[in-house]
């Protein structure tokens, strides 16, 4: 307004500048304080909020058969989970999510409501990575992914009783998956990661402990034989309207289990409709009275005592015999028999008389030595030990033809290994083995004599002629037992057995076939189990390229012209 302009005194200017400078210095001081002096505290506070230790999932080991064929394998899958706190509460978001994840929108909305105060809820477990990516692509907040492994069993129900299965958390629940769970699952590792506020991993900072993948397990199974056994057993169980069945094939030279199948079975990859009855590995869990199939062992004990030879005469007349209040019967009166014929005809009275004539420990002792009533040592979960009766006279007589004691089909097969391999007992093994565990229990000569007696079973006049295999000499023993009912009494239901060894000239395989409660007109072991054995064993021998030792029985048209046994041997 006036021409008398006068700038303000410079102290004002410098005061203003000074205040500004002081404020700036104060701010600089704050920054220095925070960045340098509070560094440790603040960094630690930050780490508490952002650094997390995450598990590294260890890859579960593979289970294969003896040739490396996969029986159980883990594949990466993605499990989606939700933090309900973060998830938008709109019906639209729920519908979108349910559609992408393949869930029912109503159900999902209910679950979200139930978990509304929680911070974790599974959305869907074990999706394929593609499916999960489709859901994550929606970008809905609060939806997270977790990498997991899912177990697949390529053979399906064929090997499932032995292999078992894992649960959703990749822990073994049944079979060898359970038995070797620690070995297979390995050690999960740990890593330190940086997470953003939404819980997503931004950076991996360090691996604190690497994950140790589980070991691979090679079973003794040969899947070729396993498939064959499965097919033949299933067909037989269906044909005879039986309740159940088991079949075991052992390598006669090592005791390794080459095949082990049971009916009924289930698909381990989809257990939604599994019947608990189908879950049992009957070949190792079910205790059965083996019946006549143990007679060769009783005979072996008799021969070992020195009081019997294969040609010793045994009088089985008149077809029944009373021992202390108990009547032993044969199907018919077989008359006077040699020891060999006792086996051929499967005379209960014959073996009972022999057992009673022997020193009291002879039969019981051999049975026990052959592993009956003893654990096999496979470590299979829930495997039955079996039971031998007290060593009294009556029990010995009854035990001689297979009653009063209980064994598993696998134990029965194991008990046959000395007969097949020069008196050497091989401990059975579910895993592939380089060196069998064996020891001599029967003199080789006697083992051979018993084997040849058993061969007569499949020959003309024997009880197991249907177990014959063209081209091979087969030794075996039929068995038919009454099942024990729930009251402890014998019922009119049967169990058909056949246990056999082939080829007789140089035994390679031992097989046991059990058919439980065949409801057809046929129920004898020789009628029901022997044909299964024949197909099973015949197929197995051919698959393993075992040279035939009985070319006479081959149909002539199958033989190449002018072929000789020597030629076949060369072909091995």
């Amino acid at each position: 307004m006036s021409g008398h302009f006068k700038p303000v005194a410079s102290w004002r200017f410098y005061l203003l500048l000074g205040i500004m400078g002081l404020v700036a210095a104060g701010l600089a001081g704050f920054v220095v304080w925070l960045n340098l002096f509070e560094h440790d505290f603040l960094k630690q506070q930050g780490d508490v909020r952002t650094l997390r230790v995450e598990p590294i999932t260890a890859h579960r080991g593979m289970i294969t058969d003896r040739n490396g064929e996969v029986l159980a394998i883990s594949t990466p899958v993605v499990t989606l989970w939700i933090n309900p706190q973060d998830f938008p509460k709109t019906a639209d978001a729920v519908r979108q999510l349910a559609q992408a994840a393949g869930l029912s929108p109503v159900n999902l909305a209910q679950r979200l409501k139930r978990y509304v105060n929680h911070e974790f809820m599974y959305l869907r477990r074990q999706m394929t990575p593609d499916e999960a990516d489709a859901v994550l692509a929606l970008g809905l907040p609060g939806v997270h992914a977790r990498d997991e492994f899912k177990r697949y069993y390529p053979p399906g129900e064929v090997a499932t009783h032995l292999v078992g299965f894992t649960n959703l958390d990749d822990q073994g629940q049944e079979g060898l998956e359970l038995a070797y769970n620690d070995y297979l699952s390995g050690e999960p590792g740990q890593r330190r990661v940086l997470k953003d506020l939404k819980g997503r991993i931004v950076r991996q900072l360090a691996v604190l402990k690497p994950a140790e993948p589980g070991g691979d397990l090679a079973l003794s199974l040969d899947m070729r034989l396993q498939y064959l056994a499965y097919r033949e057993l299933k067909a037989a169980v269906q044909q005879h309207h039986a309740d159940a069945g088991s079949a075991v094939i052992l390598d006669a030279k090592s005791g390794e289990v080459l095949a082990m199948v049971n009916q009924p079975a289930y698909n381990p990859n989809n257990r939604a409709h599994m019947d608990p009855e189908s879950l049992r590995n009957r070949a190792m869990l079910d205790l059965l009275e083996p019946g006549s199939t143990v007679k060769p062992i009783t005979v072996a004990a008799a021969l070992m005592s020195g009081e019997y030879t294969p040609d010793t005469i045994v009088d089985t007349r008149p077809g029944y015999m009373r021992i202390g209040g108990h009547t032993v019967r044969d199907v018919v009166d077989h008359g006077v028999l040699t020891v060999t014929r006792v086996i051929t005809k499967s005379s209960n009275i014959g073996v009972a008389k022999m057992a009673m004539a022997l020193p009291e420990d002879a039969v019981w002792g051999l049975f026990s030595q052959l592993g009956m009533g003893r654990a096999t040592g496979t470590g299979f979960p829930g495997e039955s030990v079996g039971h031998l009766p007290p060593n009294t006279l009556v029990d010995r007589a009854v035990m001689a033809y297979g009653y009063g004691l209980s064994v598993t089909p696998l134990q029965l097969a194991q008990a046959y290994t000395p007969l097949a391999d020069h008196g050497q007992l091989h401990a059975v093994s579910l895993l592939r083995q380089d060196k069998p565990q064996s020891h001599q229990v029967i003199p080789p000569k006697i083992a051979r004599e018993v084997l040849e007696m058993m061969e007569t079973v499949t020959q003309k006049g024997g009880s197991g002629t249907r177990a014959r295999i063209p081209g091979y000499r087969v030794a075996g023993k039929t068995g038919t037992t009454h099942k024990v009912g729930s009251t402890g009494q014998y019922t009119s239901e049967y169990r058909a057995f056949f246990a056999g060894i082939a080829p007789v000239s140089d035994p390679r395989l031992i097989a046991v076939v059990v058919v439980d409660n065949p409801r057809g007109r046929q129920y004898y072991g020789g009628e029901v189990a022997a044909p299964v054995f024949s197909r099973l064993m015949g197929g197995a021998l051919r698959m393993l390229n075992v040279p035939p030792d009985n070319l006479k029985t081959l149909p002539q048209k199958d033989l190449p012209t002018g072929s000789l046994p020597q030629d076949v041997k060369v072909a091995e």
Partner: protein, 445 residues
């Protein structure tokens, strides 16, 4: 033919501007066009650093919100370009125009503050933005500049009265109370503090009696305390910032996250782009808390560099203002004092909030934070400062400078003087023979 013509023309140009650098023009050219070299350097530094840091801080937020990680980066880059254009354009607008239309500026400012209350968009509980299609205009940003434009002219008109009469001294405060009320209704207390500070700073530099001034400052502090006390959530915020760790997942959450950012930074930071706090931990990392991200990614070094740029910028503005005042260019001087205080206070509050020295307020860091209104207004303010520098340097006082300053020309007379646009043929720009010569009159008068 043509090429020789160009060469000749270039030779003529270089003859006319002997200090023109080649091939790049020297800062002298900038000065001819804009005004103050260091001002420009610090402003460009802040804009560039701001763009880099906003880009870095917003990557994940942008990805999450828009699906495009560069969404904020690109927008901020465009705003920076627009800001530079505004700055240059602002430096071309003669001060007399601002002075002449300053009442209209005030009307515009008040109108915007009213309009925002009527049609504004509510974000985070405050109505601060007027939607204008592509950009949301922050009304208080414009209003505070309008206030400064008007106050400067008021102080020039009533200089003597303001220095002597209590009524003339009180009037601007009444105006301020009216605008302050509108701002409180939004509510935007940060803007209120900024506007009040600008008013106080300008009044102080206009020569108000110091005891009036002290009284007003005390009153202002008491008033602000009352306002804060009246609203409980203000009190909660007030209390929180003194010990954010007591309520680290409640009211103190944002501040603790900001402090963690500083602590992580240490000497040289985690490296550009490596901030952890920007991963959704620190809300508003690219707007109000970008300084914390600077400290985290570039460490103490980066944070102090940015603070230093602000100090340089504000110091230059204040020096431009003082120079203008000494040359008798009062309107420009008061304008620059106001702008300098606005930028200083806004930066102080923002950084103070970031480091936990001040209670949380929604104030952006000028020239750095993401936000179009703030950037453009800052650009315009700096353009005006440039203009002041330009006019001061090209203005030749009629009378030779003597000890008696009473012979300096009246500001109003000088503002009517024709001021040709920069770059015209008239020897507008007087290159000081010695750098010190510009400020030889900062002494007592």
């Amino acid at each position: 033919m043509r090429s020789t013509a160009i060469v000749l023309k270039l030779k003529a140009l270089r003859a006319r501007f002997p200090d023109l650098g080649w091939p790049l023009p020297s800062t002298v050219v900038w000065q001819r066009a804009l005004g103050d070299r260091w001002l420009l350097v610090s402003a460009l530094g802040l804009l560039f650093m701001g763009w880099i840091m906003v880009s870095s801080a917003s990557v994940d937020v942008a990805q999450a919100r828009t699906g495009d990680p560069h969404y904020y980066s690109i927008r901020h880059g465009l705003y920076v370009l627009a800001t530079l254009i505004t700055l240059v354009a602002g430096s071309w607008i003669p001060l007399r125009l601002w002075q002449r239309y300053s009442p209209w500026a005030l009307v515009l400012g008040v109108m915007l503050l009213v309009v925002v209350l009527l049609v504004g968009r509510e974000i985070n509980g405050s109505v601060r933005w007027i939607p204008l299609g592509i950009i949301n205009l922050q009304a208080s940003e414009v209003a505070k500049l309008c206030l400064v434009i008007y106050l400067a002219s008021y102080l020039v008109r009533h200089m003597n009265a303001v220095r002597t009469e209590f009524r003339a001294f009180l009037r601007p405060f009444l105006l301020m109370m009216g605008m302050g009320l509108l701002v409180i209704l939004e509510p935007d207390y940060g803007a209120l503090v900024v506007m009040l500070s600008a008013l106080l700073g300008m009044m102080f530099m206009a020569g108000v009696r110091w005891y009036y001034f002290v009284g007003v400052v005390v009153l202002a502090i008491v008033g602000m305390a009352l306002i804060a006390y009246a609203e409980p959530y203000r009190v909660a915020r007030m209390i929180t910032f003194t010990d954010p760790w007591a309520e680290q997942y409640g009211a103190g959450y944002q501040l603790t996250q900001s402090l963690i950012a500083f602590g992580r930074g240490h000497w040289f930071g985690l490296g550009l782009g490596n901030s952890v706090q920007k991963l959704f931990y620190l809300p508003e990392a690219h707007t109000d808390f970008v300084f914390a991200i600077v400290a985290e990614e570039l460490g103490l070094f980066g944070a102090l560099s940015m603070l230093g740029l602000f100090v340089l910028l504000v110091a230059r503005i204040m020096l431009v203002a003082r120079r203008a005042e000494l040359r008798g260019r009062l309107y420009g001087a008061y304008l620059c004092y106001g702008i300098g205080v606005i930028i200083a206070v806004q930066a102080t509050i923002n950084i103070g909030v970031n480091v936990g020295a001040l209670p949380t307020k929604g104030l952006t860091l000028p020239l750095v934070s993401y936000g179009g209104s703030s950037l453009l207004i800052s650009g315009l303010m700096l353009g005006m400062v440039m203009r002041v520098a330009l006019e001061t340097d090209s203005y030749q006082p009629k009378a030779p400078r003597t000890q008696s300053s009473s012979r300096h020309a009246d500001a109003r007379t000088s503002s009517r003087r024709r001021v040709p646009p920069a770059g015209s043929e008239a020897p507008l720009y007087r290159q000081p023979t010695r750098r010190a010569s510009r400020f030889t009159h900062l002494g007592d008068h």
